[in-house]
């Protein structure tokens, strides 16, 4: 009972913290200074039609590098925590039906294709490396669920992950050498605004982020699932 009372007090405190957000909102129509600066200058400077992508990859590029590192750390921690506890959970397990298996095999390449579309067009349409990586990881998840694959090749996965991480830093350093600074994408030509090959190195960076995020999320999923032995199951 006293626990519930304390919880109510904590809730009231949180409400008191959140109340100013609701009451004292910015009422003016104009954007804050930094935002309008970005909106005015970013298309000309970077050549990226999607301003959110431009901000994530260049102006806030260091943050993104940090986020990818945090994701890597989380993946490593999950893998470490759930290592070699594979005996539990494998009590009874149904195979997926034949229909789901063939359907998953058919849809898998289409999901991968859409993921590639999302991260290649990160600078033109909504989406980008993070979303594309998630979509690719979901495609591999579909393979796991439909039962056509039982385990992934860990060597290939960690190879893809380290290669894309290394290449990301290499591209960032290339910006330091041939353009204005670390993570500056303007060492490649800007191209025609709004077409695929434009915006300097932004599509390259986002593709690398996409591969890395995809590989990391597959790692998380692979560590989370129970390792079941599937012999002797007929259903």
């Amino acid at each position: 009972m006293i626990k519930r009372f304390l919880a109510i007090i904590a809730l009231l405190g949180a409400a008191a913290v959140l109340l100013p957000f609701v009451l004292k909102l910015p009422t003016e129509e104009a954007l804050p200074g930094l935002a309008s600066e970005y909106i005015e200058n970013a298309p000309g400077e970077l050549g990226a039609a999607n301003l959110v992508t431009g901000i994530i990859v260049t102006y806030r590029g260091l943050d993104t590098l940090g986020e990818v590192a945090v994701l890597f750390a989380a993946t490593a921690a999950v893998g470490l925590l759930l290592k070699r506890t594979g005996n539990e959970g494998g009590v009874s397990h149904w195979r997926a039906s034949e229909i789901l298996e063939s359907g998953g095999g058919f849809l898998f390449p289409l999901i991968i294709l859409y993921g590639v579309y999302i991260f290649l067009h990160g600078h033109l349409t909504p989406g980008g490396g993070f979303q594309g990586g998630v979509v690719i990881a979901t495609g591999f998840l579909l393979l796991l669920l439909s039962g056509s694959v039982n385990s992934f090749n860990h060597t290939v996965m960690s190879l893809v992950e380290s290669f894309s991480g290394f290449a990301y830093v290499a591209v960032a350093l290339a910006g330091l050498i041939w353009a204005a600074g670390f993570l500056d994408p303007r060492f490649l030509p800007q191209g025609d605004f709004g077409r695929l090959f434009s915006a300097g190195a932004i599509p390259v960076i986002y593709s690398l982020i996409g591969l890395k995020v995809g590989a990391e999320l597959i790692g998380i999923l692979d560590a989370m699932r129970c390792k079941v032995r599937r012999e002797g199951v007929t259903a």
């Binding site: 149904w94 997926a96 039906s97 229909i99 789901l100 849809l107 002797g232 007929t234 259903a235």
Partner: protein
């Protein structure tokens, strides 16, 4: 053309509404699934056709959406129906026959 698209869209949304109504009214899970699968598939198809008529530039993405919905919706319904059956959700009291029951017991013995 746009008016025709609007009429298609309304027809589609009516089918979506029927699907939701079926979800509420039907007595057991399999019958709800009958309404929830067929009516939502056709409803979405009609709405997207209407959308492509109103905005002809979007026809590519609308066509792709229709393709994906036609392929993935029955698959997920099949997976859910199979799961519900194996999790032991009953057919309801109006059920006439259940020919899977015998076959299933055999499978569990071999498993």
């Amino acid at each position: 053309m746009e008016i025709l698209g609007g009429i298609f869209a309304i027809a589609g949304s009516v089918f979506l509404f029927l699907a939701a109504l079926g979800l509420i009214r039907m007595p057991d899970m399999y019958d709800r699934m009958q309404a929830g699968t067929k009516a939502t598939t056709l409803g979405t198809m009609l709405f997207l056709i209407g959308l492509a008529m109103a905005e002809p530039q979007w026809v590519g993405k609308s066509a792709l959406l229709i393709l994906f919905v036609i392929f993935s919706n029955p698959l997920s319904s099949h997976a859910l129906a199979r799961a519900a059956y194996h999790a032991g959700i009953s057919l309801g009291e109006r059920a006439a026959c259940d020919e899977l029951a015998g076959a299933c017991e055999d499978e569990e013995e071999t498993a």
